[in-house]
Amino acid sequence: MWKFIVPFAVFTLLGAFLFIGLYRDPSYVPSPLIGKPAPEFTLPSLQDPAFPIATKDLAGKPWVLNVWGTWCGGCRQEHETLVAIAKQGAVPLIGLNWKDDDAAAQDWLRQLGNPYAAVATDHEGRTAIDWGVYGAPETFLIGPDGTVLYKHIAPMTFEVWNKEFLPRIEATRAGQGAKS
């Protein structure tokens, strides 16, 4: 009896693992930043380099950091979605222009519309490294207390926004309401 059950069980287990493996994305790397304080930065603004953008100024409300560059195909792909999301006005979108040319980035926003409340420029890519960015576009959700709540790697879609971002944004508001 065991002679049949054991191999069958081993086969089923192995099959289950391989089956799950079929639907997992091997290029997806979970961020160790989730649940941790968002790395701070103070960077020049794309619109006016004299006017710096600091994470400290954003504390107290949930906000979204979107890492993009004009060299990035996925960023072009998600841009219309970002513009539409910005129109909904649930949270401010802050752009992190990663290793890009200022003039090219300004042209991009002029031509395609600007979904960002502000765009910080990271010419050297140091802030991107602090945030563990490895492939644009990446989108982070930061809570009112400055904690990273979620990270999406790949172009933003309405599906992801409605399923992953909006409920978490609502949850931070509900939490705050209960505290006050």
Partner: protein, 151 residues
Amino acid sequence: MNTWSIRAVLVALTVFSTGDALAVDTQRAFDDPQLQARYEGITRELRCLVCQNETIADSNATLAVDLRREVSEMIAAGKSDDEIRDFMLARYGDFVLYKPRMTGKNFLLWAAPVLFLLIGVLAALRFIKRRAAEAGIATETDTAGPEAGKS
């Protein structure tokens, strides 16, 4: 030259020339050979996450270039290898290390070889015991003679 020495030269050429031809990070980061060795060692055990199957020493991706700069700056600032690894771990997670650490999450992975060996040894022991017992029965019946088996 005879054919054998020509072959030897060709083999030597193919074996020893590839390393330099494949090197991406050709600029020396440090004049001090000791620091340079540390730099090369650590960039060879960090994964470039854009390309995933290359170390940051082997990759031409801009992120790899940035991370190499970060490593060389940290070495110049007198940071230890562990501090540099922790810097990368805090940002990119365990996946960035080519030599993985043992953590609670992957403990089973580390324990699996020992576990499988144990299972194998136990199975072998059981098998040997059963064979020994069967052999014992066989010799007993043998000594009892062919008549005993008939009844």
